[in-house]
């Protein structure tokens, strides 16, 4: 595979640029979505933590 030719094709043809822009925006949106979910999920973990402690002490 000729990498140089591939790069040349990417920069000199109409179309691939638009695809790359969409991919970048799509990737950013996905990352931000999961980061937001992760932050909010922190609240649920705090709620669950005392329950987990309680379960352990009962088993003992």
């Amino acid at each position: 595979m000729d990498i140089g030719q591939l790069i040349h094709t990417f920069f000199n043809n109409a179309g691939p640029g638009g695809v790359v822009v969409m991919l970048i925006f799509g990737a950013a949106l996905t990352i931000y979505y999961f980061l937001t979910r992760w932050i909010i999920a922190g609240g649920k973990e705090d709620e669950l933590a005392p329950l987990a402690d309680q379960t352990t002490s009962v088993d003992k």
Binding site: F11, N12, A14, G15, V21, Y32, L35, I39, I40, E47
Partner: protein, 445 residues
Amino acid sequence: MHPKNQHEQTILAPLRRITGRDYLLWAVLLTLMLTGLGAWVWQYIQGLGITGMSRPVYWGVYITNFVFFIGLAHSGTFISAILRIAGQSWRAPLTRAAEAITLFSLPFGAGSIIIDMGHPERILNLILYGRFQSPIMWDVTAVGLYMLSSIVFFYLSLIPDIALCRDRLTEAPRWQQRMYKILALGWNDSPEQFRRLEKVLDGMAIFMTMLVVTVHTVVSWLFGMTVQPGWHTALIGPFFLLGAILSGSAAVVIVLAILRKTYHLEAVLHTGLFNSLRKLLITFVLGWLYMMIAEHLTIGYASMTEEMTVLNDKFSGAYSLIFWSMTIFVFFIPLLIFIFKGKNNIGWMVFASVLINIGMWMERYLVIIPSEASPRLFHEMGQGSYLPALPEVLITVACFAGLVFLYALFTRFFPIVPIWETAEELPGHAHAAASAPAPSPAGSD
């Protein structure tokens, strides 16, 4: 348990009551925006021929506005992200006010490009036929990503305060309470949520800092990658960036002073903040002067014919009045004010900051118009001239009105000072004691 902040009631007060003056302001701004919309429809139907632009001046005030608004947008990232990384805790009360400038000026910056296209549907061509050979693709990528990231950065740091509004503003209309409930995403002020939020914001601050440098450099490359006189210089990137941070920081001073006066936030937005911004602005003004001298001395010393035509136009020709006014507005008067009058005096600080922003708009105009009026292919394209036509003036006024409208609207529905970031105590968290500054006395700097 919500964060404990002694100023909570003061910060929430503007959200509890919308006055008749607010409605009046919104009505005036909406009228200006609608007038601009009308002008844009008129331009859409008639074509760009009704503007002052004609061969060889293809970029007029729309591109001036584009560069100016994108520059203004750098204030938020600078104050919030860069100072966050630098561990400057005094920035906490003003982060949201600065970030809101970013958020609300970016749409008008990006929108100016679309207005300049004449037909907005042409933006689709960038997606369908985009090629990375073109600097406009670099621009679309960088500005688009910056806009998206700014929205997320702004929203994430707003979530704890939205949750606080949800629980505190129980007397607000139902739709408003519903809005808070949806936007709060079920935030419950747990220590783990705060820990994760700070972690993400710290990480994003680094990414945003890289983006802010990239965005304005790429904006400058729209000019720098051409061989037009005055544009084709490696210095154009840092020059644009420094100008952007200067005008953005000056805009923060103006906004803070208005918020402080209108919403009686004197205890939160104390004079010490303005003194800290004053020191930053002195540095930026001097940096900007250094760039100006380096840029013009290099061009003038080489004395290349095409470059000298543009330089002479600025120094002593058709644009000399704007050029020297710009220099006085951005450099001489503000520097004298900041050094001799600005300390502990918000009125003088605002005056200097207004001058800086007027001057920086002129600077953007001067970067674009003289180079286009005297192009490198002068013999083929001829001497150009440019004066903004009525639609351009109306649309420009509408863009500024839109920025103020969005800002004014936001401050009536969301806390403009971050309550959790300035809190004395966060739930199960030692963060606040380290990062939230106590109101410092006026002369503390």
